[in-house]
């Protein structure tokens, strides 16, 4: 763990790249970026020890805006990439960024199994309940009655409940944040990164362009009335019965992270080739 001196030596600005974000003005993801850099500074980790992995979508642009190592991967596959990275380089801190479309639809299957495997990494999903980058199609978390020209009268489909799915699938840490509270989000990210195993942090991040109604979230969010539990059944009951705007750490499990044991790496090319012989 970083010492106080190390933490004081790191500034959020150290984790920002020179690339200017191209999100829409008012987008919640600006605040999420701010929370990332504040959390990294609080952790006192050098940027080269952090890897931010993402898929496709507005939120997945975030690795380019940090000075950490980054991998802007294939749509929905960020968790698969990150899992491979973490098991081979357990010394690195791996943070995965996604959105509700990339993470719950295209990458939905990876989400389930990443929770189940419980590899020590942090999965941050910026949920705006819409496909913003492709101009406003309903996503898995869009409300069934949300009416657009692309889904007249709404989809009529029950929205996906990511926190309950994460819990049921074995995530070891579950939290919900609101992008408009970047300090609170940063402190939860710090705890998520420090917690062993697979940490899932959903950040409600409004899309002001295609979901201007989400500006109201600011007045709807509130701190979770009770602290985190380590009882999945209790956490599931709380999450399933809350109003969807409870902010805070909701579950903190104690399952041992999965880390496969590897043998000594093969330095000899001939021996390596022999391994691949048919």
């Amino acid at each position: 763990m970083a010492t106080l001196d190390m933490r004081l030596a790191c500034k959020p600005a150290d984790y920002k790249s020179d690339v200017k974000p191209i999100w829409c003005p008012g987008c919640g993801d600006y605040h999420v970026l701010m929370s990332f850099t504040r959390a990294f500074a609080e952790l006192g980790l050098p940027p080269e020890q952090i890897v931010v992995v993402s898929g496709i979508g507005c939120s997945s642009r975030i690795p380019a805006y940090t000075s950490c190592y980054g991998f802007h991967g294939v749509h929905g596959r960020s968790l698969a990439l990150a899992a491979g990275l973490k098991v081979t380089r357990p010394d690195l801190t791996v943070v995965v960024a996604s959105g509700d479309g990339d993470g719950y639809s295209i990458g939905g299957n990876h989400f389930l199994h990443a929770c189940r495997r419980n590899i020590d990494m942090t999965y941050v999903v910026m949920d705006n309940r819409i496909y913003g980058m492709t101009k406003g199609q309903p996503s898995p978390t869009t409300e069934s009655e949300f009416d657009t020209a692309l889904a007249p009268g709404g989809t009529g489909l029950r929205p996906f409940h990511p926190l309950v799915v994460a819990l049921a699938s074995g995530a070891n840490f579950v939290a919900r944040c609101f992008s408009g509270e970047p300090n609170e989000t940063a402190s939860i990210l710090v705890e998520a990164i420090r917690h062993p195993g697979f940490s899932f942090v959903e950040i409600l991040s409004p899309c002001v362009t295609f979901r201007p109604d989400e500006k109201e979230w600011k007045s709807l969010v509130h701190p979770a009335p009770v602290g985190p539990t380590n009882d999945p059944a209790k956490a599931a009951r709380r999450i399933m019965t809350d109003d969807g705007f409870n902010i805070g750490i909701l579950y903190r499990g104690d399952r041992k992270p999965f880390q496969p044991a590897f043998g000594t790496p093969t330095a000899d090319v001939a021996a390596l080739e022999k391994d691949f012989e048919l």
Binding site: L8, K20, P21, I22, W23, C24, P25, G26, G28, Y30, H31, T134, K135, G136, Q137, T148, A149, L150, S179, G180, E181, P182, N183, E184, S187, P206, V208, T209, F210, K215, K218, P223
Partner: protein, 176 residues
């Protein structure tokens, strides 16, 4: 935004300078972020407005650093100037930005920030038991009141736009 229950506790002059410094530094950062956003979205009038506001706040920030003398406000701010849930009073809310916003909107955001800062320092004056802190906080109250007046004067040059200011003949919701 700043919430009364999570504002930093000010128990010394060093704390007050550090918090005042952080308030101005956060304002500079936000205005620069907003200027960069507007540059990306080709709203040059707002780029100029936010850069001007960032420059003004940078002057205030540097003045506080000078006033603090021997106190290392940057270092001390990292220890004491933290808001857990909310943010410092002049941290402009990025969620309020819009790609078609006008200088009037920018000044409204600035005005809200200055008023929050004024209220913050006024609460320090009311609650502190330290005479030096009280005296300095009173000076900050006067200064913030002057900033409020300055923004109000600037607003006279930029009247409220018509209600149709956000109408876009070529909206981004091409598929909506």
């Amino acid at each position: 935004m700043s919430k009364p229950d999570d504002a930093p506790k000010i128990t010394s002059l060093a704390d007050l300078f550090a918090v005042a410094y952080q308030i101005e530094a956060d304002a500079v950062e936000r205005y620069e972020t907003l200027a960069a956003q507007m540059e990306t979205h080709n709203n040059p009038e707002l780029v100029a407005a936010f850069r001007d506001l960032a420059r003004a706040e940078a002057i205030h920030r540097d003045e506080i650093r000078r006033l603090a003398g021997e106190i290392d406000v940057v270092e001390h701010a990292r220890k004491v100037a933290t808001w857990r849930r909310g943010e410092s009073p002049e941290a402009i809310e990025l969620g309020a930005a819009h790609y078609l916003m006008t200088p009037w909107h920018a000044l409204q955001l600035a005005l809200e920030g200055e008023k929050r800062a004024l209220a913050f320092f006024a609460s320090v004056v009311e609650t502190t038991k330290d005479a030096d802190v009280k005296k300095m906080a009173e000076e900050f109250v006067e200064e913030e009141a002057e900033h409020v007046n300055l923004v109000n004067r600037l607003l006279r040059k930029h009247p409220k736009p018509r209600d149709t200011w956000s109408d876009d003949p070529d909206p981004p919701n091409a598929q909506g």
